[in-house]
Symmetry: C2
Subunit: 222 residues, 2 copies
């Protein structure tokens, strides 16, 4: 009997994630909240990009951030210092967020007051792309130091992202990253993807990215 | 009945991985083969390190490489150009290798002729560390561009690795990587880990790493 109940749980979990994605979406839509699922490999610069974006976005939006991490609150502390509400999800070793975790984390905010939630997913170029978590759009970060071969090697995340942020662009001259190859591969995988080139240390491309996010939010909320 | 058989499969899979790890280990030990499980996030430089190590290691060892990747053979092609036998595992979306995949891939080699297999795992800082696959030692690569906070954020891989390779050391001046913090955190997680600092573009630290690998191989095989 234990065995039967276990398999029931796993079937429920599969159904549940799709259902919770839809329920989360309904909840966020109902409250007038735009939700971004921000994904990348570890160390591509998700948190640094958020640190640069928040001061710009919070001028016109009431935003909150959900931070996904295996065990620590390191990133959440960096975001909190930017003066926006943060909720931490610790996955205890799982390399992705699911809809249930995001739902629970979002209950830490007064949703009536908020019109943008950015979810910083766990650092992994594979599994996070497999889970819809209630977001309006997925954004994916690749840093030039990771190499231009990554979109073809890890296609799902690049395929499902509305925009791709090519970060650490200031370091490109020290790498063998071939920009033409990158653009060609992205066109193959996802020819509608918008591409932003950024550097957090040199403050490059942040204005363009921030403006575009504002436009996306306004498209939904107007 | 279908439900019961499904849960049996999943229990079998858990048991099987531990069993296959032990069986792989027996097989490789019996043939006098030292096996390295090389792991990191995407883009840390595993393949580039192999390209630098192989010319040195193959002078005295008969080596082969197993390449793990979601879909492509890009890395395997780079290794093949180094003139050593390569077997490709494509995981079709899974972000880790398991013992069964490694066993099957190893059957592509004439194991009696080989005394070193290096397995380049799928690029992911989380799941690969959870699976023992028949290896003697795990090696983990972190590039300085990923940030010094990664060991505490993704502790399992750093905990289980005999040595940690800090790669792209030539770029450290362009990052906010704090070396002292990195050493302090590694000491907390795994105070026995040996640390190598390497740069593939500047050819730094490769001799030391190669020498150490030779010593480890000889410890087992003598």
């Amino acid at each position: 009997m234990n065995e039967i109940s276990e398999i029931n749980i796993s079937i429920d979990m599969l159904n549940t994630n799709e259902e919770i994605h839809a329920e989360n979406k309904d909840l966020f839509d109902g409250e007038g909240i735009f939700v971004i699922n921000l994904m990348s490999a570890p160390g591509s610069g998700k948190t640094s990009i958020l640190e640069k974006l928040i001061p710009k976005l919070k001028q016109t939006l009431n935003m909150a951030v959900i931070e996904g991490d295996l065990y620590t609150t390191k990133d959440a502390e960096r975001i909190e210092a930017q003066g926006v509400p943060v909720a931490q999800i610790n996955t205890a070793g799982l390399c992705y967020l699911d809809g249930g975790m995001v739902r629970e984390a979002s209950l830490n905010f007064d949703l009536r007051e908020i019109n943008l939630i950015i979810i910083e997913n766990v650092g992994c170029l594979v599994s996070p792309a497999e889970f819809d978590i209630g977001e309006d759009i997925k954004l994916c970060v690749l840093s030039v130091t990771e190499g231009n071969d990554k979109p073809l090697k890890y296609p799902l995340m690049f395929k499902k992202s509305t925009a791709i942020i090519l970060n650490k662009i200031d370091l490109i001259g020290f790498t063998d990253f071939v920009e033409d190859e990158f653009y060609k591969d992205i066109k193959l995988i996802n020819d509608k993807a918008k591409i932003f080139k950024t550097s957090c240390t040199k403050n490059l491309g942040i204005d363009e990215l921030s403006e575009w996010i504002l436009q996306e939010v306004n498209k939904k909320l107007r």
